[in-house]
């Protein structure tokens, strides 16, 4: 291999453009190195290093929001950088930080190696960043598989628990199945777009831009249509849209709480990032095909998620099913994005609100989960408001935001989604959302009720000792406060974020 070739290769690959991803990967490796280098007694600092360094990355991302790569493709068109991508990077790092924080609470209770968990989270986060910026199916698939395999491990991380492993297995098999479906779809698309006999055929059918050109020239190529729907099916698994949502509650329930949170927030957001990239760029010419599919999915997802959550008493399953419903709301945003550019910003805002609220809720859950991570029933939340008012307050804010109650961020997210859905003329879907939100109030409120209402008026003090709840460390307390305050603040003051969302 000639030096020129290598130089050429180096020149075409602007590594600077993926500096955050590289940093995260390096931190991940650094953690492993530290595990080897540091004596056993000092392993306790490793999570701290993971978190602090990620905060540094986060700060770097925020302060260098304008990268200069916006709108450009790098790595021979494998990646495409945009303001959205930059937002998602911040989003993923944020989610990663909170996941690591949750892990610092949940992991020490298990006699398990810990550093690997943080390493996995970091690598998966980096992969998600890449995934959300991919502009090419090869990149997409590889990043997606990295994410997926990382999640398989994270989900089954507590290997001493049969439930965790069962969740891991279910996730593994269904994940692999959906990967296969996705892959087959990619293959079909590649084949269709590369067909030299067709107009606008392209040599690189897996590049999103090329593919779009091809699809625009061949408005009803059946092979391509089949590829499109199969790819959508694969993504639907990630975001948990009906009928590919069925794994959600089982896996959420079995997975370690930090992994559940990671799955619920980051994985879902990555799925939506990909879905948006595909529907808004690669598959845009096939919107006629996609809108009915996505619409039907959204309706079914909202109704199924909310209805199934209605009588659920296991909080992790509840969060999972409600997350399904949230995916449904977001799908409406995806549909609206075909007609209204605001919708994309609305989705980002919604996801951010969802992140804050979800981690607030998971933050409470992880404290209450108990040593074996199995205290997950609503009954375990009884008397929470009396015994742990701080956690109860955080829980209330988180759930309120998830339910979309003003003045919390979740409401603002829903409002933006409503507006763009209305602008896009999706009246029927709005009606479904309405029904869904009303149903969701019941179970979110039921949870709050479980945590608040049985207390203070209970005539007979049962005299039993307060349930064992992990102590809230100052750092975690601060983080939970940040989540709560953020959830409240974003509800009415969006500041620069609001302007960015509108301007993007």
């Amino acid at each position: 291999m000639s030096p020129e070739l290598l130089q050429q290769a180096a020149a075409s690959n602007q590594w600077l453009a993926i500096a955050p991803e590289i940093t995260l990967a390096l931190i991940a490796v650094l953690l492993l190195v530290l595990e080897m280098v540091l004596p056993k007694g000092q392993h306790g600092v490793i999570p701290g290093i993971a978190i602090v360094s990620q905060v540094a990355v986060l700060a770097g991302l925020i302060f260098n929001f304008q990268t200069g790569f916006e709108g450009f493709t790098t790595f021979s068109g494998l990646l495409r950088h945009s303001a959205d991508g930059q937002f998602l990077r911040i989003f993923f790092v944020l989610a990663s930080i909170f996941t690591c924080l949750l892990a610092t609470i949940a992991l020490p209770r298990q006699k398990m190696p810990q550093v690997e968990f943080y390493h996995l989270v970091l690598v998966v986060t980096a992969a998600m960043m890449v995934l959300s910026q991919s502009n090419h199916f090869v990149m997409l698939f590889v990043a997606l598989e990295t994410v997926t395999i990382g999640l398989y491990i994270l989900v089954s991380y507590f290997r001493t628990s049969a439930l965790t492993l069962e969740a891991g297995l279910k996730f593994l098999i269904l994940g692999a199945l959906s990967s296969s479906i996705l892959l087959f779809g990619i293959a079909l698309l590649y084949g269709a777009a590369g067909n030299p006999d067709l107009p606008a055929s392209t040599a690189d059918g897996m590049n999103f831009d090329q593919l779009r050109t091809f699809l625009a020239a061949n408005p009803d190529n059946l092979l391509a249509s089949a590829g499109v729907v199969l790819v959508i099916a694969g993504i639907a698994f990630k975001i948990g849209a009906v009928p590919f949502q069925i794994w959600v509650p089982d896996v959420y329930q079995g997975a370690p709480t930090p992994a559940t949170a990671f799955l619920a927030v980051s994985s879902k957001a990555a799925g939506f990032a990909v879905l948006l990239a595909l529907t808004q760029r690669a598959f845009l010419p096939y919107s006629g095909l996609l809108i009915p599919i996505l619409g039907a999915m959204a309706i079914a997802t909202i109704l199924f998620g909310n209805l199934a959550a209605l009588t659920q008493t296991n909080v992790k399953r509840l969060v999972g099913l409600s997350g399904v419903a949230h995916a449904g709301y977001l799908l409406i945003g995806v549909i609206a994005a075909f007609a209204d550019p605001l919708a994309v910003g609305a989705i980002w805002f919604y996801l951010l609100a969802y992140l804050l609220a979800s981690f607030a809720v998971f933050g409470v859950m992880v404290h209450l989960a108990g040593a074996d991570d199995e205290n997950q029933e609503l009954d375990h939340y009884a008397d929470l408001a009396r015994n742990r008012p701080f956690l109860a307050g955080i829980l209330a804010i988180g759930l309120g935001s998830l339910a979309g109650i003003p003045p919390l961020a979740g409401f603002m997210g829903k409002l933006l989604l409503f507006v763009s859905a209305y602008r896009a003329g999706l009246y029927g879907l709005l009606a479904v959302v309405l029904a869904g939100v009303v149903i969701s109030i019941y179970y979110y409120f039921g949870w709050i009720r479980a945590a608040f209402f049985t207390v203070w008026r209970a005539g007979d003090e049962k005299g039993e000792a307060p349930r064992e709840v992990t102590r809230v460390t100052p750092g975690v307390r601060a983080a939970l406060l940040v989540l709560a305050v953020g959830s409240v603040l974003l509800g009415f003051y969006q500041g620069a974020l609001g302007q960015w969302i509108l301007a993007r």
């Binding site: 398989y152 089954s156 297995l169 087959f184 293959a187 084949g191 590369g194």
Partner: protein, 101 residues
């Protein structure tokens, strides 16, 4: 006379379907996992065929990645299955239904 593209795609689809069928039918997790591999392979057949007929190499390169990924996935998957077996002494799907409702 050589077979046309549709023959290869048909074969690929058939393999894919058989794999899917296997995932649906078998109770043994290991076999299910094999069937999943079969589905991945089915996709590679399609990719290679398209690559050949379209005259571009990207499909082939993609297969390269797929094989690597599949190998990694198998490793992780089997590790999970083994760990589960050690706890539950079974790999039968019907008995792995403690997470429900």
């Amino acid at each position: 006379m050589t077979p046309g593209l549709e023959s290869y795609i048909g074969l690929s689809a058939l393999l894919f379907a058989i794999g899917f069928f296997g995932v649906l039918l078998r109770k043994n997790t290991l076999v299910i996992y094999m069937c999943l591999e079969l589905m991945l392979i089915a996709s590679t057949v399609a990719l290679v065929a398209f690559s050949r007929f379209n005259g571009t190499l990207d499909g082939g390169v993609f297969v390269f990645f797929i094989l690597t990924v599949a190998a990694a996935e198998v490793a992780v998957g089997l590790a999970i299955i083994v760990a589960l077996f050690r706890l539950r002494q079974t790999v039968e799907v019907d008995k792995l239904n403690h997470l429900r409702n």
